[in-house]
């Protein structure tokens, strides 16, 4: 009698356990396509009723309590998760860098003969023409026009490069350009994620581990951590209850349920001004256009790290910070390309200004175009205009190089010094056909210049293109490799923790069968009890 009733009890319990198991299967099936969902499995255990004494079989039977749910296990691999996040940070950094260098490659792409290289070739072509016809106004005008094209191309490439940096980090001065930059969006999103993580931590601290709720919270936590890893490289320290502490570059930014380090961003200029003593911007500043700092909101925004740029080495933020500025680490980026173009521009100006103004160089007298006249000391070809509006030949960059405005005046074309007499005694003012200075200018095509590391103008540019191309190509390889590493870890995680439909269907049938069987046992017990009740009736 006792065992019949207990069997009845047991079946009722079995029905309930299988119901719950089916509901977990249902949860799994429902979430089979949910991003970041980890499959959960019901672990069943035998229920044992205490009080079985001795080797009395009856007592031992009494100890059989049926089945119970031991726990609901969440498929997980903490090692893989951490590894995945590390590699993800690196991948995102590479992606930003590749993006940046891809833009650079587009800017310097001269394969269709539309860039600086073509402009330089045209320039030398015009010089060649001038060598044939030094006294012809057409040849001179043509030379000035191609020289103007050269400066315009340099200017526009410089603008494109600047935009490239501005797009990533802002221009370093205006708050507006910072707010429109890629990094601004990224840093805002990252701060949101930090808050979300702290919230999940709080929920995890009050939830029982091993429960369904805790499992779902852990899924959410891992998703947030993955998101954060895309922005920046992180260190995660996990507690028993599943909550985590998070640090960026050794600085703890989330501690349990509290955000202890919030990111703040400012323009390089405002950062420099806020320092004590202030840094002179832009002259003494060799860092990035945007500066990220870490402050602690728990302590009224106390600054933890004033300039955290160097702490952020990977992830999207790391890629953005370090792929736009020449910070001397030898990586090819918009900043180094810009520097090289500036050096090239100054070299172009120096070489041709020197020849046009040197002792023994002669222009054509604008008042009598059949006569030569000594080339003035300030008869420069390439110049820039300083802040006071003066024409100067120092501090020429790709962005500001321009032709001497004098060349565009009415008699400007005669300012090109085509003639040259090495020996002043040979000077003949009628020798307007003397093109020896032009020949010297043509000679610069092969001239190795000290300012350009012993390369000629065109070689220096080609080397720059080659450098960008190699950097782009090797970054592409790195990115492809990294991408397949990340893909393969992701596939591993997906495979080891995701929902397999076949598995679930088998489970479903398993639990259904158990449920039906338990129901059958119930019926049988019930029938037995009925029989018992009707005895003697």
């Amino acid at each position: 009698m006792v065992s019949l009733l207990s069997a009845l009890n047991m079946t009722a319990n079995t029905l309930s356990v299988n119901e719950k198991a089916i509901s977990v299967v249902s949860h799994n099936v429902a979430n089979m396509n949910t991003e970041g969902y980890h499959k959960q499995r019901v672990n069943l255990a035998t229920r044992n009723i205490a009080g079985a004494i001795g080797n009395n079989v009856t007592n031992q039977v009494r100890a059989n309590g049926g089945v119970m749910i031991a726990n609901v296990m969440r498929y997980n691999d903490a090692f893989l998760n951490n590894y995945y996040r590390d590699q993800l940070s690196l991948l995102n950094k590479l992606e930003q860098q590749l993006d940046g260098i891809g833009d650079l490659a587009d800017i310097l792409d001269d394969l269709e003969s539309t860039g600086i290289d073509a402009a330089l070739s045209d320039f030398y072509e015009a010089l060649n023409n001038l060598n044939e016809y030094p006294a012809s106004s057409t040849a001179r005008t043509n030379f000035i026009e191609t020289a103007k094209t050269l400066t315009s191309v340099l200017n526009s490439k410089s603008v494109e490069l600047e935009q490239n940096t501005t797009k990533a980090l802002g221009d370093g001065e205006s708050q507006e350009s910072l707010e429109n930059s890629k990094i601004y969006v990224q840093y805002t999103a990252l701060n949101d994620k930090l808050t979300e993580l702290a919230d999940v931590n709080r929920a995890l601290q009050v939830t029982q581990t091993g429960t369904l709720e805790a499992n779902n919270l852990l899924d959410k936590r891992d998703l947030i951590l993955n998101d954060i890893a895309e922005f920046v490289d992180i260190k995660v320290e996990e507690h028993d209850n599943g909550s985590v502490n998070l640090s960026i570059g050794g600085v703890e930014v989330v501690k349990g349920s509290k955000v202890t380090g919030e990111l703040e961003i400012q323009t390089a200029k405002s950062y420099c001004e806020s320092q004590d003593p202030p840094i002179l911007y832009p002259d003494d500043w060799d860092g990035e256009n945007a500066v990220i700092s870490i402050v602690n909101p728990q302590e009224d925004g106390k600054i933890v790290v004033a300039n955290a740029n160097s702490l952020i080495t990977e992830g999207t933020l790391g890629g953005l910070l370090h792929s736009a500025t020449d910070n001397g680490d030898g990586e090819t980026n918009a900043g180094t390309v810009m520097n090289s173009l500036n050096i090239l521009s100054q070299a172009i100006a120096d070489v041709f200004n020197e020849l046009n103004t040197r002792e023994g160089a002669y222009c054509i007298n604008p008042d009598d175009t059949g006569k030569l006249i000594d080339s003035a000391d300030d008869n420069y070809l390439f110049v820039t205009v300083d802040e006071n509006g003066n024409v100067v030949t120092d501090g020429i960059t790709a962005g500001n190089i321009q032709l001497n405005p004098e060349l565009f005046s009415d008699d400007g074309i005669w300012n090109i010094a085509c003639a040259y007499f090495e020996d002043g005694a040979n000077f003949d003012e009628n020798a307007v056909g003397n093109a020896q200075n032009v020949a010297a200018m043509l000679g610069t095509r092969n001239q190795k210049l000290d300012d350009l590391n012993g390369m000629s103008l065109e070689d220096y540019y080609t080397a720059l293109v080659g450098k960008v191309a190699s950097a782009g190509s090797s970054l592409q390889t790195l990115y492809d490799t990294q991408s397949s590493v990340v893909d393969s870890i992701e596939a591993q995680i997906k495979d080891s923790t995701g929902v397999d439909l076949n598995e679930e269907l088998v489970d479903l049938v398993k639990y259904q069968t158990a449920y039906s069987a338990a129901a059958q046992v119930f019926n049988t017990c019930n029938a037995c009890l009925d029989t018992l009740m009707s005895l003697g009736g």
Binding site: D77, A491, K494
Partner: protein, 366 residues
């Protein structure tokens, strides 16, 4: 944990594989469509740099070829002109030999002098030839007429003299190689100038109809006054004054012809002995002048030959570089199409496999 594959993992893998095949297929398609192997400089840095360098060299070769062509055509003109000059010079030589026979009467001599003077004018025209808006024989003075004949019959050279090394005009025919393509008028044609006698303080001396010396003084306002050596003013017509020749400076063709013409004039004027003596002397000068022209012709003939050789070198280089450029830049159609077909099959296969296996699960059999 390779022993477990999840449904979502399998889906992701299928999509990734399709994507990979599509990327490959797309890359080959755009290579074929554009005909270029290297689409962006990062595709192949070494090829990209080579393309840039080769493009530049081809551009230079084109420039050099144009330069060489132009130089050759100018040199032909130069050569033609010098051949013409030699022709006129031998004509004049014939006349000189005839005149030296001393058998001609005054009428014939006069006719001969007219002919010689005509030849001088022709020579001057020849020496003043313009090519491409430049005076060929002016040295670096390309914009002023190299020869002028002044009212006293002097044949004056206005170009850059040959002993000034800066007379040259040159053209670039190979990287850093410049070829001189001009000579000077004074080298080929020479000049003639009867230098006027001057007083110790640099005033020009003329003679009047009676052969007395008249000195020209230029006043502060630029006007000229004429007076005899004793200070009395010259009262006659200024046009009647004749230049008192101190000495003659001359060289080359122009000098020879002018001296010949002058010597005939001397004979006509009655100064027979000195005239014939000078006439005889010009015969040697003809020789020298002719030789000078021939020397110049030979020199530029050499340049011309060099340029011809340069042309063929440039053509060979051009062909080599062009084929090299094609090699590194353009797709090899046979290989590209084969690869493209393979990629297409691979892509199709991945599509088929994905579509067939996507719906496979135990669900289908329950």
């Amino acid at each position: 944990m390779v022993d477990r594959i999840s449904t979502s993992g399998r889906y992701a893998q299928l999509v990734a594989d399709m994507q990979q095949n599509l990327i490959n297929y797309n890359r080959l398609t755009s290579q074929l469509a554009s005909g270029h192997k290297v689409m962006s400089i990062t595709d192949d840095p070494i090829a990209a740099v080579n393309i840039l360098n080769t493009d530049r060299q081809l551009g230079q070769i084109e420039t050099f070829s144009t330069n060489v062509e132009m130089a050759m055509s100018e040199l032909s003109t130069l050569d033609d002109l010098m051949t013409l000059a030699t022709g006129y010079l031998s004509q004049a030589w014939d006349k000189a030999v005839q005149a030296n026979n001393q058998t001609y009467g005054n009428d014939s001599l006069e006719a001969l002098k007219v002919e010689i003077d005509e030849i001088i004018k022709t020579m001057v025209d020849l020496a003043n030839t313009e090519y491409n808006d430049n005076y060929i024989f002016g040295g670096a003075n390309t914009k002023i007429m190299p020869y002028t004949i002044d009212e006293n019959g002097n044949i004056i050279y206005n170009g850059t003299p040959h002993d000034n090394p800066d007379y040259i005009r040159q053209t670039e025919v190979a990287d850093g190689v410049f070829e001189v393509i001009n000579t000077t008028g004074d080298r080929v044609f020479g000049y003639y100038e009867a230098v006027q006698a001057q007083t110790a303080d640099g005033k020009n001396i003329f003679t009047d109809a009676d052969g007395k010396n008249v000195i020209e003084t230029i006043e502060a306002d630029g006007s000229k006054t004429y007076a005899y050596e004793d200070g009395t003013a010259y009262a006659g017509n200024v046009e009647d004054l004749e230049v008192l020749v101190d000495h003659e400076e001359y060289s080359g063709v122009m000098g020879t012809l002018k001296l010949l013409s002058n010597s005939i004039q001397m004979v006509l004027d009655g100064d027979t002995e000195a005239g014939y003596e000078q006439m005889n002397a010009t015969l040697d000068m003809f020789d020298t002048s002719m030789r000078t022209i021939t020397e110049e012709q030979t020199k530029f003939g050499g340049v011309y030959n060099r340029l011809e050789m340069t042309t063929s070198t440039l053509e060979t280089n051009n062909m080599n570089l062009t084929s090299y450029l094609t090699e590194i830049q353009d797709v090899d159609l046979t290989t590209a199409i084969t690869e493209w077909m393979q990629a297409q099959y691979a892509y199709q296969a991945s599509l088929q496999v994905t579509s067939a296996s996507l719906g496979m699960s135990l669900l289908n059999y329950m």
